[in-house]
């Protein structure tokens, strides 16, 4: 599903974010990216959905070489990739329903489909009863659920999550991880960058560790370190 072939990425030609990293992630896998700040986790994620372009190497996503993808095709690539942010990035003036519907509206999905899919996804993340609330009326965990609903409503092949529990307390984080696990079990490939040791150790999924841009460890049922 995702393949990195000796990928190197530097910023401003100096700071090396990723150095000759190679990895292959199969369809339906759940992968933790771990490592200290600045080790290249975010870059790894941003390369997958073509927010960044590698300096060298090749990145294949769903069979397509995204490093050489022409820029007008990038939106269509991203329709297959959900993205969950650490800070949720919900639109403050839109309700929960509107926030989720927004993701479908802006890729031109017809209204009847939006009307059917949004309640279904809110049901999945457990927010049906808060569908008409504004983000500010929700707890952090609930806001992150909305963000996940928005990322998943289009049923992407891949879900990328950059520190999705970074702003949440441990108990709430567990709830979020259950949700991501459930999404993963439905066949979606999940790649999640995290600092959260206990989550990684509890879940026992594949772990890719980065250190100063080098891929230093890749274990199939790994722990944080």
């Amino acid at each position: 599903m995702i393949r990195f072939e000796t990928v190197t990425k530097t910023y401003k030609g100096e700071v090396v974010a990723l150095r000759e990293a190679s990895a292959e992630i199969q369809r339906g896998e759940f992968v933790f990216l771990v490592g200290p700040s600045g080790s290249g986790k975010s870059t790894f994620i941003r390369l997958i959905n073509r927010e960044e372009v590698p300096d060298a190497g090749k990145i294949l996503v769903a069979g397509k070489d995204v490093s050489s993808l022409s820029s007008w095709k990038v939106p269509y690539l991203r329709r297959n990739i959900g993205y969950v942010f650490q800070d949720y990035k919900l639109l403050p003036k839109k309700t929960v329903t509107e926030n989720v519907a927004f993701a479908l509206e802006v890729i031109g999905r017809p209204r009847p489909i939006i009307k059917r899919q949004v309640p279904a996804i809110l049901e999945l993340v457990g927010l049906s009863r808060k569908a008409d609330r504004l983000p500010e009326e929700l707890s952090g965990g609930e806001q992150q659920r909305v963000s996940i609903a928005r990322a998943f409503v289009n049923r992407p092949l891949i879900l990328l999550a950059d520190e999705p529990t970074g702003n949440l307390d441990p108990a709430t984080s567990v709830g979020i991880m259950r949700l991501l696990d459930r999404i993963n079990r439905s066949g979606t490939t999940v790649v999640m960058a995290t600092h959260d040791r206990s989550i990684v150790d509890t879940m026992r999924r594949r772990v890719i560790e980065l250190d100063r841009g080098m891929l230093v460890r890749d274990e199939s049922r790994g722990v944080y370190e």
């Binding site: 939106p75 990035k89 802006v106």
Partner: protein, 298 residues
């Protein structure tokens, strides 16, 4: 597709409303600058009409003495008919001259009463082959030396004056207009930029869920285009005011009788209005396109 149409319209107007004060500033600047562009075009056209109407290319007029002898007239006519320097001419006899005089001073009956056809000078209105000022002056000098000629009036001086006047006014207006057009484009750019920065998160989310670049750009470009079009919409009535008040003032001016011809056909005002709308939309699109390509980074 219909969903998208309403999406664009909604997003555009929400954004216009959100930045109301900047929106108004942009619209007014466009309106003022386009009103100046239009006025400049109207004045130029008015001058063209005025000078064109000045006896249809006639550059000078040979006035005969009212009591000029027939053989003196013969001599003049012979020169006019044979000279290669003369393209054509019209003879206006004393009765025709009297008619014209009456028409011209229809609102001054006491003046009309003071003259009779008998004392009106007949004249030759002459179109030279070469309308160059030096040439006209030389021809005029030659005719003024002929016997029976009362005087020779060249239109050159008058035409120069009116052209000079209108050129200076319309150029000054055009210069001010160009500066203001640039200012309004920058103002639209800024307004659209403000709209973009106010919606950073929204745009980021749109990009990451796979909205196409044009889908993200179109509402902002529509916003700029609407600024331009609304400004132009305000400038159009201003043009009609300029036409009916300012140009009309020239036409009624006592001091400069030449300006009587300073009229612009209605069709020209309408044509100019269409141009103004096109220019307005273009300013808006260009301004917002700059903002979108510079700050949207999609």
């Amino acid at each position: 597709m219909i969903f998208r149409f309403w999406y664009f319209i909604r997003e555009t107007f929400v954004s216009l409303w959100r930045n109301l004060s900047l929106t108004l500033a942009a619209i007014l600047t466009v309106a003022i600058s386009l009103a100046l562009v239009g006025s400049s075009l109207l004045i130029r056209e008015g001058a063209e009409q005025a000078t064109a109407q000045f006896q249809e290319g006639v550059e000078f007029i040979v006035f005969m003495n009212a009591d000029a002898l027939e053989n003196q007239n013969e001599a003049i006519r012979k020169v006019l008919d044979t000279s290669p320097a003369i393209k054509e001419y019209v003879y206006v006899d004393k009765f025709a001259a009297y008619e014209e005089f009456r028409e011209l001073f229809v609102d001054k009956p006491e003046l009309v009463e003071s003259v009779t056809p008998e004392i009106m000078p007949p004249s030759y209105r002459i179109v030279p082959r070469d309308p160059d000022a030096d040439n006209v002056t030389e021809l005029a000098r030659q005719f003024s030396e002929q016997p029976g000629v009362k005087e020779v009036a060249t239109a050159t001086e008058a035409i120069r004056q009116i052209e000079d006047f209108s050129t200076r006014v319309s150029q000054a207006l055009l210069l001010a207009a160009i500066v203001l057009v640039a200012v309004s484009a920058v103002l639209i750019l800024n307004t659209v930029f403000t709209a973009i920065s106010g919606r950073k998160t929204e745009i980021e989310v749109m990009k990451l869920v796979g909205a196409t670049n044009w889908f993200i750009r179109i509402p902002f470009m529509l916003e700029g285009t609407i600024h331009g079009l609304m400004g132009a919409g305000l400038a159009v009535p201003a043009l009609f005011v300029v036409d009916s008040k300012v140009l009309a003032y020239f036409q009624e001016s006592e001091a400069v009788p030449l300006f009587r011809g300073f009229a612009v056909p209605d069709g020209f005002v309408w044509n100019t209005s269409i141009w103004i709308l096109v220019i307005g939309a273009a300013i808006g699109m260009i301004g917002s396109a700059f903002a979108v390509t510079r700050y949207l980074d999609v």
